[in-house]
């Protein structure tokens, strides 16, 4: 069940590596059904923040709430979908598209159980939602980088998560795949009321659909507001972080 409060919240999150502060009091929240993007220059702490949000890294200070619960106490982890940063799959991996997407159902079904007919239909639906319905029996390694990324998105969508977190999902992906990627996310938000938290340099495909943009700079949230407000500062959301204004990039 979606909790009444935010589905994702960071409160004063602080992380330091060997004395170097990477995140310094990061605070924000994502509400149910909200489509939020996190941008920031290289070294801003995006990857570290993402690991803390997912429970893969314990913050030195502050707290994280995932679906209203501390990440390490969340029982139904499948309610959170995660698309890792990856543009290609190992060229030797012999797994088919269907096999990879079906692994997204394991935590919900019980990893030791055999797949049911309903599971097969869920895989079909997830593949169709990213326009890969015809390629289910192809090896993932034979697909283009954009198609492989859509396979990973379908794997995250197959459980119909309440919160979908994506790490640089369109890096190196062609325009057609970006459009299908955008359609799948918008469908998830509008039809299923899911929240989406996207970490990316490339927001062109989804810039018009975002409710909010967070800008992370120097381990702090430097901007949190509507895309139009950010655009008013002179930054384009459709391009790489190099186009961020000087006050974001640092000097």
């Amino acid at each position: 069940m979606t909790p009444p409060g935010p589905v994702l919240a960071a409160d004063g999150v602080r992380v330091a590596y060997a004395g170097d502060v990477v995140l310094d009091g990061v605070t924000f929240a994502v509400d149910p059904g909200e489509f939020v993007a996190l941008v920031g220059p290289n070294g801003a702490g995006k990857s570290t923040l993402l690991r803390a949000l997912l429970g893969l890294l314990r913050p030195d200070g502050g707290s994280v709430r995932l679906l209203g619960t501390a990440p390490d106490r969340l029982a139904d982890r499948w309610r959170v979908g995660f698309v890792p940063q990856r543009s290609t799959v190992s060229p030797d991996l012999p797994a088919t598209v269907r096999e990879v997407v079906a692994t997204g159902l394991l935590a919900r079904r019980g990893w030791w159980r055999r797949p049911t007919e309903a599971d097969r239909r869920a895989v079909d639906h997830a593949l169709e939602s990213v326009d890969l319905g015809e390629l289910g029996h192809r090896r993932v390694a034979e697909l283009s980088g954009g198609q492989q990324q859509r396979v990973l998105i379908a794997k995250a969508l197959v459980c119909v998560p309440e919160l979908l977190i994506l790490d640089e999902p369109v890096a190196g992906v062609d325009a057609g795949s970006q459009r299908r990627f955008r359609d799948a996310l918008v469908h998830l938000v509008r039809e299923h009321g899911a929240a989406v938290f996207l970490v990316s340099h490339e927001l062109g495909a989804v810039a018009d659909d975002l409710a909010r943009v967070l800008v992370l700079r120097g381990g702090r949230v430097a901007f949190d507001g509507r895309p139009s407000e950010l655009a008013a500062t002179g930054v384009s959301l459709g391009v790489h972080a190099h186009d961020l204004p000087v006050w974001l990039e640092g000097t």
Binding site: D76, W78, F82, V89, L93, G104, L106, A107
Partner: protein, 279 residues
């Protein structure tokens, strides 16, 4: 014993039938585990565990305990240690394996020296002695092999999820640490069981070569598991027969047959050419 006099030459003798059973089980099971190790970039895991198993054999000889038991304990501890070093980020996968390799073989040499037992008997553990397998050994191999096949049949989808991306599997709520430990323990069991067939120095080859062959022939991960198991089993049967005909060392012959299948598949099969053949 098991199949009576039904089998034709070269498997008409009882010792060849026992060797056939042990070879078939190890040849079939080793690639099932190897498929996951190869795609976790831990192809040499079997080798590293084999070296530690040799230290266990030496400890058994020193303590006058059946070396298979001490080898099993050493192999499980070694495999779990590699997994611990790798998963905790204390060492990269290949560095953790190197630690295991050299510590294992060095401990084996020292312990063998202390036991004063570096003789032909010790060499059978290094290079295998499939033709001396007894009925009790064969049944042990069959039972362990059946347990391994059942475990893989139940858990292959979850292990595939871990192979794909450990972090994503962890975020999804899969018991990644436990699955990795199960894989490490199964690797150790496979090495010790394979010790009698091809020896600790060659058992890793049966974990890797049939997988290389299968991923050029099969169209899915499940298909790769099945084809690798068949190729490993056939390699054992053909290798045993060839070894009998030409009086060759059976362990090495089984591995060479497996390598031959890999070359045939690499030259004639689908998919990418392996780096070692790429021009």
């Amino acid at each position: 014993m098991i199949v009576g006099a039904l089998l034709p030459w070269p498997f008409e003798r009882e010792y060849m039938q026992l060797a056939l059973v042990a070879g078939l089980v190890v040849g079939t099971c080793a690639p099932l585990i190897g498929t996951f190790l190869v795609h976790k970039r831990l192809s040499l895991m079997g080798d590293g565990v084999g070296h530690v198993a040799f230290a266990g054999v030496a400890a058994g000889l020193l303590l006058d305990v059946w070396p298979v038991w001490t080898a099993l304990v050493a192999a499980v501890v070694g495999a779990v240690a590699v997994e611990w070093l790798r998963s905790r980020g204390r060492a990269s996968g290949d560095l953790a394996l190197a630690l295991l390799f050299y510590s294992g073989i060095a401990a084996g040499v020292v312990l063998t020296g202390l036991a004063g037992s570096l003789d032909a008997g010790t060499l059978t553990y290094l290079f295998g002695s499939i033709l001396t397998v007894e009925a009790a050994d064969a049944w042990t191999v069959v039972v362990l092999g059946a347990g391994l096949v059942v475990t893989v049949a139940v858990g292959w989808r979850a292990l595939l999820a871990v192979v794909l991306d450990e972090d994503a599997a962890r975020v999804a709520g899969l018991p990644v640490d436990r699955l990795n430990l199960v894989l490490a323990a199964l690797t150790a069991v496979t090495v010790v069981v394979g010790m009698r067939v091809v020896g600790v120095l060659l058992v890793a080859a049966l974990m890797v070569l049939p997988v290389g062959t299968a991923q050029r022939l099969a169209r899915s991960f499940r298909g790769t598991l099945a084809v690798a198991a068949v190729v490993g089993g056939v390699s054992a049967v053909v290798g045993l027969a060839v070894a009998r005909v030409w009086s060759l060392a059976p362990g090495g012959t089984i591995v060479l047959v497996s390598a031959g299948f890999f070359l045939l598949a690499a030259l004639g099969g689908r998919g990418r050419r392996p780096a070692l053949l790429a021009g």
